[in-house]
């Protein structure tokens, strides 16, 4: 059984998707090839993946779905032969806190698997991931452990472990204390602090509300 992992981030090996891939692979004993969509010709890559039993795409959420670059690759994917038993799965991470932001494309991926005649392994979803690449170790420990477990279970069973998926996708929606807390901090403007720090560093703070196309 051979699996190919595809990095679907336009930031390639500098992004959060790459970190997810590394942690997933850490849990696996079996070797896996990894390719970067931002470095490949989409048509050639679509032809290259035919020889693998399973495709796992690891990608960021862009406007409620896959980045345009990933859709270009999907345009070129051909359906598998009827009895091929090939499979496809997705690991999706996004910026917003609640993972329900991913539900539209999750449903699409399940339809796509059907269209491609591939068994659908499911879509692993993780919210609040935009900052993973800059977080200190102690803040990513839990996430990385879950990704290691996901890789380990995948290696053994060729499935995504439902319990690990369930943990990764918390919170699915904003409710109760989390919502109240976020509403409170946005009222105070605390959610802007990080953006303002970046803007100041780039000497762009005074232009933050610009409307260049008005």
């Amino acid at each position: 059984m051979e699996t190919i992992i595809l990095n679907g981030s336009p930031r390639g090996n500098n992004g959060n998707s790459e970190i997810f891939i590394r942690q997933f692979l850490k849990g696996m004993r079996t070797h896996c090839d990894v390719k970067y969509m931002n470095k490949e010709n989409p048509e050639e890559l679509a032809s290259h993946v035919k020889k693998y039993d399973t495709i796992i795409m690891v990608l960021p959420l862009y406007i409620h779905s896959m980045p345009g670059m990933v859709m270009r690759f999907i345009e070129h994917l051909e359906p598998s032969a009827v009895h091929s038993k090939q499979a496809i799965g997705f690991i999706l991470q996004c910026g917003f806190t609640e993972s329900s932001q991913c539900k539209y494309v999750e449903r699409y991926f399940s339809c796509l698997a059907k269209e491609l005649n591939r068994t659908y392994l499911g879509t692993v979803i993780k919210g609040e991931a935009a900052g993973v690449y800059m977080l200190p170790k102690f803040m990513t420990k839990k996430l990385f452990t879950l990704l290691n477990q996901l890789g380990e279970m995948y290696d053994q069973t060729h499935t995504f472990d439902r319990r690990v998926m369930e943990k990764l996708q918390q919170p699915y929606v904003l409710t109760g204390f989390t919502l109240k807390f976020m509403q409170f901090t946005t009222k105070l403007g605390a959610n802007k602090i990080m953006w303002h720090r970046f803007l100041k560093k780039n000497d762009a703070f005074h232009k933050k509300l610009d409307q260049p196309f008005a």
Binding site: I74, L77, C111
Partner: protein, 153 residues
């Protein structure tokens, strides 16, 4: 006079409009995920190929989109256009509705009429597609959003 912008992926009969973005002949550059449009040059993308479009989009009352369905979704070119609309919004997140949303950068955004051509292998596929388009333009702060197959107009 009402300002209409047309975005199209197919030849279309003549429509009165203030601007047409012809996606048959124009390949939209992929968003690179660099965040310059939020953190270095607020509101501006590192690529300039959509500058006229941005200008007309935020000035329009209505945007008519004629889209082709590809593998049960929008085409890569259309998807890149959606990705590249992030400079029209601010990085700040609002949770007052109970969900995370980006705060508008401009005072108003156009109403959307999205017509699509193509078929789906299942009813679920069609529902997902329509729900996705609604959601996208709802996030893009458009007030009136219509999503319909092209044969219905």
């Amino acid at each position: 006079m009402k300002q209409t912008v047309v975005i199209r992926e197919m030849e279309a009969c003549h429509m009165d409009c203030s601007y047409t973005l012809d996606l048959i002949h124009h390949e939209v550059k992929y968003c690179q995920g660099c965040w310059n449009c939020w953190l270095k040059t607020p509101g501006r993308c590192v690529y300039k190929d959509l500058d006229t479009f941005y200008n007309r989009y935020v000035a329009a009352d209505e945007v008519v989109i004629l889209a082709k369905v590809v593998k049960g979704f929008v085409s890569a070119n259309m998807k890149s256009l959606f990705d590249r609309m992030i400079p029209l919004f601010l990085p700040y997140v609002d949770v007052s509705t109970g969900e995370s949303r980006h705060i508008p950068r401009y005072p108003k955004y156009p109403d959307i009429k999205f017509y699509y051509e193509g078929s789906f292998i299942t009813d679920e596929g069609k529902q997902v597609f329509e729900a996705y388009i609604y959601r996208t333009f709802d996030q893009f702060a458009s007030k009136q959003i219509t999503v319909k197959p092209i044969e219905s107009i």
